[in-house]
Amino acid sequence: MTELWELGEGSVRDVLGQLPPSRGLAYTSAATVLRILEDKGFVESRKQNKSLIYTPLLAKDAYQTRSLKNLSQTLFDDTPATLVARLVDDAGLTEADLEEIRALVERRLRNDGG
């Protein structure tokens, strides 16, 4: 969004060009992000020479208020308890537990790798 406000409007390639190369975002990923932002009503698009040009619909402060609302939603993990396979299940671990495990794993797996 920041890049779009700076540009005023732009295609996926324009937005990618504004991003620092260290972000390492692929073209398809940037296109998906812009499509999602359009679905959410943050930007609109029009077709120009076979490519889509995106224009921000919200002012910066209005966007930030909505993003904050969005963030508070993500503070609650909505994954159901059953019918899914999650990558990890923490089952009540604490940050200290994880730190301990991290140290152990780094030591044991690094030794094994090298």
Partner: protein, 364 residues
């Protein structure tokens, strides 16, 4: 009444077979732990699935065993109580005939008392079972609904064959699920700009599809309303979840050539995220800390077992076929032995006569 009795008998037999299957599985695991196969999680998962499938099929297997014996050796019974009656009549069990018959008919008496519902005990048990079933069904429906909303609110990112890779703002940890026709990998939306972790997460979830883990998850949840009260069910489900993840990790690290340390770091990253979230929501940590030590050990074991992945990928099929044959035969005969005797055998008439004579003598 007869239909209700038959349903109740199948229900009880299935629960007994589940307990028996669980004991066999624990024994098998104890044996495997002493061999080189202790880190062969893919093979162990396949073996557990074989055992579970045989348990679920045990009512059909029991009928097949009874029919087979009827065909090849007519007149011979597989029913356990028939063996016990024969042993009693041969004088191998020293017991009062009236008492012996009481013990022999315990299950039938209980079944009948349960179905008649004329005392408080069976009514309370039936009520508790029905309440548990309703809770399990409601929980399943809630999960399905939650999942439906979660998928509806997500954004399609890529479509690979029958799999949709989706992005969601409402989850912290990647996950896999399936609908009737399509399978879904759901990723937290910020993974879009983190290609290394995204690659590992997608590989992991796709492996779950390859292992048919989601189909098994559905089977577990559909059968939970009937087995929720059985500790064997909870124990087998816990073992299944553990093996499911260990086998998946092992396959991903071997198949996609991910460095075990990178893979472990990725898992820890998502653990940290979900722990951060959980702590923000948690009101009382003390209540939840009871299983913490186990969870800590479990996670450490999961990550450390990544180093023993070499040459465990291909599960030797002959082990599985042998296990399926032995377990299948055992469970079919065990299932057949639990069936109620079909009619009055010669031995049972003899026992009944002995009991009547003893009663007459006692009356005199």
């Amino acid at each position: 009444m007869m239909a209700a009795k038959q349903i109740l008998e199948v229900f009880v037999n299935l629960n007994i077979m589940l307990a028996l299957g669980c004991l066999i599985w624990l024994g098998l695991q104890a044996l495997v732990a002493k061999t080189a196969l202790r880190h062969a999680f893919i093979l162990q998962l396949a073996a557990l699935k074989t055992v579970l499938a045989l348990i679920l099929l045990s009512p059909v297997l029991a009928i097949a065993a009874t029919q087979a014996v009827e065909l090849f050796s007519p007149g011979r019974s597989l029913v356990l109580s028939d063996f016990v009656v024969a042993a009693y009549l041969r004088g191998e069990i020293a017991m009062d005939a009236i008492r012996f018959e009481q013990i022999l008919n315990t299950r039938e008496n209980w079944t009948e008392r349960f179905l008649l519902m004329n005392t408080k005990g069976p009514a309370i048990v039936a009520l508790l079972l029905a309440a548990g079933m309703v809770v399990a069904i409601l929980r399943l429906a809630r999960s399905a609904l939650q999942l439906h909303h979660l998928l509806d609110d997500s954004y399609l990112w890529k479509r690979v064959g029958p799999v949709d890779v989706r992005l969601s703002d409402r989850i912290a940890v990647p996950m896999a699920t399936r609908g009737l026709f399509r399978r879904h990998v759901l990723l937290p939306s910020d993974l879009i700009s983190d290609s290394d972790r995204r690659r590992i997460a997608i590989a992991h979830e796709l492996q779950h599809f390859r292992q048919s883990d989601l189909e098994w998850e559905i089977v577990f949840e559909l059968t939970r309303p009937f087995f929720f009260w059985n500790p064997a069910f909870t124990l087998l489900k816990r073992r299944f979840n553990r093996l499911r993840e260990l086998a998946c990790d092992q396959a991903v690290v071997s198949r996609y050539r991910v460095a075990p340390l990178d893979y472990a770091r990725c898992l820890l990253h998502f653990c940290e995220r979900s722990v951060g979230l959980a702590q923000a929501q948690r009101l009382n940590v003390a209540l939840l800390s009871a299983g913490r030590k186990d969870a800590r050990q479990e996670l450490a074991n999961r990550l450390l077992s990544l180093k023993s992945t070499a040459s465990q990928l291909s599960a030797p099929r002959r082990h599985l076929i042998a296990l399926a044959c032995v377990m299948g035969t055992f469970l079919s005969f065990a299932g057949a032995s639990l069936e109620a005797p079909k009619d009055w055998s010669h031995d049972r008439l003899m026992l009944s006569t002995v009991v009547n004579l003893e009663r007459l003598r006692a009356d005199r």
